[in-house]
């Protein structure tokens, strides 16, 4: 039977759906007999979900305000530096 460490190393491909059918069989067989690895797989999946949630934090209003101010200043600066090619008025 597959060892636990080998089973754990298959979890990435299992999560991706890229595990070979042979690998899937072996992992399935192992999990059906190893409650610890079954629990491990569950916690592996949960931790992926949690990472996505934790990283998707909202931008604090102050931060977005500072970004906006910074951007307007950069737009003005870049615009002032860009040469006019058409002889007309600048669009920015």
């Amino acid at each position: 039977m597959l060892r636990c460490d080998a089973a754990v190393d298959m979890l990435l491909d299992a999560h991706d759906g890229t595990l070979s059918s042979q690998g899937r069989q072996a992992l399935k067989g192992h999990l059906s007999q190893c409650p610890s690895c079954t629990a491990f797989q569950r916690s592996y999946e949960h931790s992926i979900t949690l990472t996505a949630q934790a990283l998707a934090v909202k931008l604090p209003t102050q931060v977005s305000a500072r970004i906006y101010t910074g951007m307007t200043q950069r737009f003005r600066r870049e615009c002032a530096q860009s040469p006019r090619t058409d002889g007309g008025s600048r669009s920015c």
Binding site: R3, C4, D5, V8, D9, L11, L12, D13, D16, T18, S36, C37, A39, F40, R42, S43, Y44, H46, S47, I48, T49, L50, T51, A52, Q53, A54, L55, A56, V57, K58, V63, R66, I67, G70, M71, R74, F75, E78
Partner: protein
């Protein structure tokens, strides 16, 4: 992908400036969000590349390792109680963000692109100039490390 708030602000600015400049290259049939995301992650990666390299830290493989007859020396902690929580301002979310912040750049970028950005393996490979197996190894180590940290956090709660 970047670490500090100041850096993130610069990246956002750079993203919108660059998006504005590249607007001609945007194809209307492609999702705008994805297009903008790509520009943002390019801007972050550029920043990571130009930043002075921090000393390379190697990551320990934090999965159960098998001895003669025993593999899981400790019981596996169920992380389900955390899944139902809002991670926005709460402690576990903070803890997780700290764990990801502490990761060496090369591991953090893979994690963010894969598990936050939901990019395909192929894209990550191309973006970071790595082989599939390198991306997978890094991602696996990083996920196991985050999982272990969360386990530690929950175990400390009891």
């Amino acid at each position: 992908m970047v670490r500090s708030e100041a850096e993130a602000q610069d990246v956002v600015q750079e993203t919108f400036m660059s998006a504005f400049r590249k607007l001609d290259s945007y194809r209307a049939e492609a999702p705008f969000r994805g297009w903008l995301f790509r520009i943002a992650s390019n801007a972050s990666l550029m920043r990571l590349r130009t930043r002075r390299r921090r000393p390379e830290v190697s990551m320990v493989l934090r999965r159960p390792s098998c001895s003669e007859d025993d593999c899981h020396q400790r019981p596996v902690v169920d992380l389900r109680p955390l899944v139902s929580k809002s991670l926005e301002d709460e402690e576990p979310g903070e803890r997780l963000r700290r764990s990801t912040d502490a990761l060496p750049d090369k591991y953090r970028s893979v994690l963010v692109l894969s598990d936050f950005d939901h990019r395909a393996m192929k894209e990550i490979e191309e973006e970071l100039g790595l082989s599939v197996s390198a991306v997978k190894t890094r991602l696996h180590r990083t996920r196991l490390s985050i999982r272990k940290d969360l386990e530690g956090y929950l175990a400390g709660q009891v």
